[in-house]
Amino acid sequence: MMDVKTIKKEQSKTGTKVRITGAEAVIHCLLAEGVDTIYGYPGGAIMPVYDELYKFQDKLHHVLTRHEQGATHAAQGYARVSGRVGVAIATSGPGATNLVTGIADAQIDSTPLVCITGQVARHLLGSDAFQETDIIGISTPVTKWNYQITKASEIPEIMAKAFYIARSGRPGPVLVDITKNAQFEEFDFEYSKCTAVRSYNPVPKIDTEKLQQAADLINSAKKPFIIWGQGIILGKAEEELKAFVEKTGIPAAWTILGASALSSSHPLNVGMVGMHGNYGPNLLTNECDLLIALGMRFDDRVTGDLSTYARQAKVIHFEIDPAEINKNVHADVPVLGNVKDALEQILPLLKENKHESWHEVFKAKYAIEFDQVIKNDLYPEKEGLTMGEVIESINEASKHEAVIVSDVGQHQMIACRYAKFNTSKSNITSGGLGTMGFALPASIGAKMGAPEREVVAIIGDGGYQMTIQELGTIFQTKVPVKIVVLNNEFLGMVRQWQQLFFDKRYASTEMTNPDFVTIAKGYHIPAVRVTKREDLKGAVEEMIASEGPYFLEVMVEKEDNVFPMVPTGASVSDVRLS
């Protein structure tokens, strides 16, 4: 049992204790944390909690996914659109291990999740009991924190701590494993939210001296360049980013997970960095004199070869997680702390600027990219359909207001490159882990987390088949997600690498696919297949206009490639246009 001195809690509102079971306590904890929807799958070791869920179904919506992996991805989708903690629940053994991919995805993409797993009774722990697995050991490297509860009396404090840790500082997944005896036991329940943990400092204090140093560098830079990441979205700093960019006039680019924090149409938004990012932002990373990183972690897919990355530039790194400072790229001025507060505090120290000639350089690079890549992707003259024109049709039909949930591969890069966003928290994708199968279940959670918004899942034919069973969840819940499968009958991104780097030896990348339209119809989801350009626009409009869930398959050119491209290990200066 944890020492009470190690955490701080809110004053209990009721001050009264009620005698209930551990299982019922779990539900009360979730309700006290404001949870309205959870995703999961029942099984032996979690049955007492499910029995309570049955009693509380008017207050807590449980969504039965068709696989526990789907539960974690749905919880991630919910968390990413809403900024709230996503909750997934599963039984012990295989139920718990099936959560692991989603947990790892949430860990690397800093998504707040609380995962609850059932566990065999305390007296059976370590005995290789039926459906016993060491989920604490298994999940340790991919969780922000985890804990095994073996007596009911631990439940309120551990659940409070779990939610606090998941959402505070740099968010992440927390797993709470609850033995079956603890679910059955009765105890005197009282709940108060956790407000601090003594060994944990989620938000470092901002050093005003560093802010001044950063401001001096920004004010004197001739060719400054901003790269923002998901930290802006997680830190709710979209307005501060906009004010910062507009006052300083600095060209600003985004990482995949940072997309949508600043409107796509904003004149200072110069596009995406990284392996398939825009030409100018990649190339000019190595020409700027000051690189301002805002809530991003210099992932290798962003930087390419580190030894040639932005070596000419001074680097200012705004970051909440001290472990990210100097991890990959040396920061001349690290600004630790909450990016929202830091940007707000630095704003008065900054001079207004326009950087007009520097913007012209970006515009010139864009013109090259438009001519050699974008034009052919969005307005193709060849016969075969491109992924890019599908995204463009969705942009038009949804008026840049849709939440785009993409899977992993070529279609993901195309979706992130070309989707247009007016609103933050609109680009939901598996960035760090690159989890194929993410999009279909994540779109379910996204639609439930933001029911007022249009949610469009963009998925390749490969990733779609990794979690295709979640069509059952969509059918059962009638959640109105729009599913677009871009079918090139290949594992396209791997095939692209095979073409470029393995002399076109297409090892195990060609897919013989089933009839996806028939499968969708089997789940009573309206389904359409488009094979010709003249049918595309109408089909997309019909999909967006439909009230319920909808499936659209678009047969796209089989061997198209995604460019620009920074090959693995190459410098961002060596970004290829073909």
Partner: protein
Amino acid sequence: MEERKTFTISIYSENSVGLLNRISGIFLKRHINIESLNVSGSEIEDVMRFIIVVNTTETWVRNIVGQINKQVDVINTYYHDDEQTIFLETALFKIASHLLFDERQIQNIIKESHSDIVTVARDFFVISKSGRRDEIEELYSKLRPYGIMQFVRSGRVSVSKSEMHISAMLRAFQNETV
């Protein structure tokens, strides 16, 4: 290439089950071998202290310490090189008792090495030696020709020359109003 050195990592943490696993995983991920590990109480009640010795570059040890530090149950983590710490290891040698009488030289070895006789039984006796690794290794090499029945060496224990301010951090937590 950056120079590899011996670093002593000191971790102050809550006493929580599974934290060792979480910490060792950080070394595992980077394929770094832990040279020695010691876990004990510390000068503060209910606060544990890990001493981990690794041989790596300063860049890596800094990154690793950052990643250890962000574990929720870790209060704070520091790293030092050998110049910045006072450290020692302890070894136990189990040796057949008859050697004390058959091999007179052994008594001199024990005396010169400043080791202690822990126990003497009819069949064996046990000596302990605390000190730096090379002193223990020297004693080992001197005793080996006569036959060592059992040998074991502890992980490094170490205190830093500079302050680590843990008590102040914990006091600040107690005093902060939330």
